[in-house]
């Protein structure tokens, strides 16, 4: 018996409006398997934000069926859907979205609340996650005391602390300078392994090119879905361009 795919969209539409119907997504079918590194690209209004909301279980399809690890999400109540979201998805946002009144460690711990963990276990896991992104020494700093790059690394730590199967990043380098952006992309490359998928929504071609698979969207439809060979070269050789160019 084969494992169900991590994410499966079957003719999914997301429709806004009641009288004038706006198809933000129009009968999109898509499968993302465990371990994939996917980028979703497209101009403004192409439907990639809507796609992000659906993939992150923050939204529900208007038509069609979306399955996460084989479960049809529209059949789940808010509680189960929230639980599934917390277990399967780790979010990374363009604006970092750290909680301002909490320090780095407590921001990471927020993802571990309501999981029947003792405070000590929660603290230990949070420190481990901060260590992965190289932020453990700064765990007592609040967001205002950190640089943009540090805030994004803290947000990544928060996303991975629950060990989710899917990291869902929304324009993760959009608010960063090129050095920090490269740093963050390196971390993504390190985090991509056989059990963890990464999906990055972006309009930055360089970011999209670092993925293994690029899904291009336009007007609520997928217009291209390509495997990228050179993405592997970039991740393997730590930033140097692949020879296939």
């Amino acid at each position: 018996m084969s494992q169900p795919p991590l994410l499966e969209l079957d003719a999914v539409s997301r429709i806004y409006g009641t009288e004038v119907l706006v198809y933000a997504l129009n009968e999109v079918s898509l499968t993302i398997d465990t371990g994939e590194f996917v980028s979703i690209v497209g101009p403004s209004g192409s439907g990639k934000s809507t796609m992000l909301g659906l993939l992150g279980l923050l939204d529900l399809p208007s038509q069609g069926v979306m399955r996460v690890t084989g479960k049809a999400v529209h059949e789940l109540g808010d509680h189960e859907r929230s639980r599934l979201r917390g277990d399967v998805v780790g979010f990374i946002f363009q604006q970092f979205h750290l909680i301002p009144h909490l320090d780095a460690r407590r921001n990471v711990e927020t993802a571990l609340l309501y999981r029947n963990l003792s405070p000590r276990d929660r603290k230990r896991k949070a420190m481990e996650a901060l260590d992965v992104v190289g932020l453990a020494p700064r765990h007592e700093h609040r967001p205002v005391q950190m640089s943009g790059g540090e805030q994004q690394r803290c947000a990544i730590a928060r996303a991975i602390v629950t060990d989710p199967q899917l990291l869902l990043a929304d324009e993760p380098t959009g608010a960063l300078d090129s050095t920090n952006a490269a740093n963050v992309m390196d971390i993504f490359a390190d985090l991509n392994n056989g059990t963890r998928s990464i999906a990055i929504v972006t309009h930055d071609p360089a970011v999209a090119a670092s993925a293994d698979r690029r899904i291009s969207m336009r007007d609520g439809r997928i217009v291209a879905d390509e495997k990228l060979q050179h993405g592997e070269a970039i991740t393997s050789f730590g930033g140097t361009l692949g020879s296939s160019h």
Partner: protein, 410 residues
């Protein structure tokens, strides 16, 4: 259970990260609960004082004044009125007095004109007075049978008069119509009847000899069996007049004090109602601030939803913040109220009552419930209830926020 603990942790950190705001919205419950506690506590303390006075003085002293037959001037009782009254089985004792009119008292020679214009009351009394009235002497002695039998010019003065002129036993005299009387004692203030405070009290026989006022009294104080004060009051006019045409006005002296205590209950309800009003206004304040807080923290709510916290957890978080404000404000308010009661009671010289019995719309509640003073349970409970109601709307609003809208994706 760990989820509940996590929830409490989140709510507390939400409150402690904004201390000044938290303290500000806590002011509402603090003012409301402290007003309720102080209003009830203070009026009960004042009442407790009154009731203590009542218990000490007894509520069984009846004052009887001769009102005579129609048209009579200066009506009096018969000479043997005390014996007549004491024949009643419910009477424990009685004492007779006569107000002496037309006597100019001069405690102080240079002020003779003043005392002519504003005469000091002069009373005659018998030797039962102290026992029946249950009143003490400040100094000296009371009029005795030797004074009566010899018509001695001895006088006892009220404490008001004594304080004003520093009368002390033996070394001062007081002049009544140019006759010098020796002051042998000073009588304590009697809370139920202030007629003695500034009076000069002399033996009946002396008054008759010096001022020719006769031996018939016009005022009686009757100590009744406490269980049948009202029956005694009813029986007295008949016992006194024995079917004659004289009339007697009776009054249970403690009634005025009891009326005062009852009036305090009304005040208590008014002030407590104002406290309740302050609590409701405080609740509106909580609802306001929490609603604004939900808008300000919409990004945080979106983040928490994205991290897998369900709508109900978000609602609980904000409800718990509101309840924590109510609880802490209520406890602080109770503490402030207790402080007010203790401090004001000390200033007023009352014994403070911190755990009174409560009388709510005819239902009497015990002073303590589950080992806690009922008054504070009610005060803190009211603050809690207010904060729950105030927190409901913002909590539901917070839960209804769509994370997609607050997170500004894409």
């Amino acid at each position: 259970m760990r989820s509940v603990r996590d929830l409490v942790g989140v709510a507390v950190s939400g409150l402690t990260s904004r201390w000044s705001r938290t303290l500000l919205i806590m002011l509402g419950p603090i003012i409301g609960v402290s007003a309720i506690v102080a209003a009830v506590g203070l009026t009960e303390s004042a009442k407790g004082d009154l009731q203590q006075t009542l218990a000490a003085l007894g509520d069984n002293l009846i004052k009887v004044e001769a009102s005579g037959s129609f048209g009579a001037t200066d009506p009096t009782f018969s000479e043997d009125v005390v014996a007549r009254v004491n024949r009643l089985s419910t009477v424990e004792g009685s004492t007779a007095l006569l107000s002496v009119t037309g006597v100019i008292t001069t405690p102080y020679e240079a002020a003779a004109d003043y005392y002519t214009a504003f005469p000091t009351p002069v009373l005659t009394a018998d030797e039962h007075f102290l026992d029946v009235m249950n009143v003490e002497l400040v100094s000296g002695r009371w009029l005795n049978s030797f004074d009566s039998s010899t018509a001695a010019r001895s006088a006892v003065v009220g404490i008001g008069l004594a304080d004003e002129f520093g009368f002390r036993e033996g070394n001062r005299t007081i002049r009544l119509n140019n006759l010098d009387y020796g002051v042998v004692g000073v009588v304590e203030r009697y809370p139920l009847d202030n007629v003695f405070d500034n009076a000069v009290i002399i033996p009946t026989s002396t008054a008759d000899a010096d001022f020719d006022v006769g031996l018939e009294p016009n005022t009686l104080y009757v100590r009744s069996d406490p269980a049948s004060t009202l029956a005694t009051e009813d029986a007295l006019p008949v016992a006194i007049n024995l079917g004659g045409d004289g009339e007697a006005t009776t009054l249970v002296l403690s009634d005025a004090l009891e009326a005062e205590a009852a009036a305090d209950s009304t005040l208590q309800i008014i002030v407590a109602a104002m406290g309740l009003l302050a609590l409701i206004v405080g609740g509106v304040g909580i609802a306001n601030v929490m609603s604004i807080s939900v808008i300000q923290r919409s990004a945080e709510i979106g983040i928490r939803r994205a991290l897998g916290h369900g709508r109900s957890l978000i609602a609980w978080q904000f409800l718990l913040e509101s309840v924590a404000v109510g609880l802490m404000g209520g406890l602080a308010g109770a503490a402030v109220g207790v402080g007010i009661v203790i401090y004001a009671s000390r200033i007023a010289g009352w014994v403070h009552v911190l755990a009174p019995e409560l009388d709510l719309f005819g239902v009497t509640l015990p002073a303590h419930y589950l080992g806690m003073p009922t008054l504070y349970l009610i005060g803190v409970g009211a603050a809690l209830l207010t904060s729950v109601i105030a927190g409901l709307y913002p909590s539901v609003k917070a839960a209804q926020l769509e994370p997609l809208e607050t997170l500004r994706l894409g």
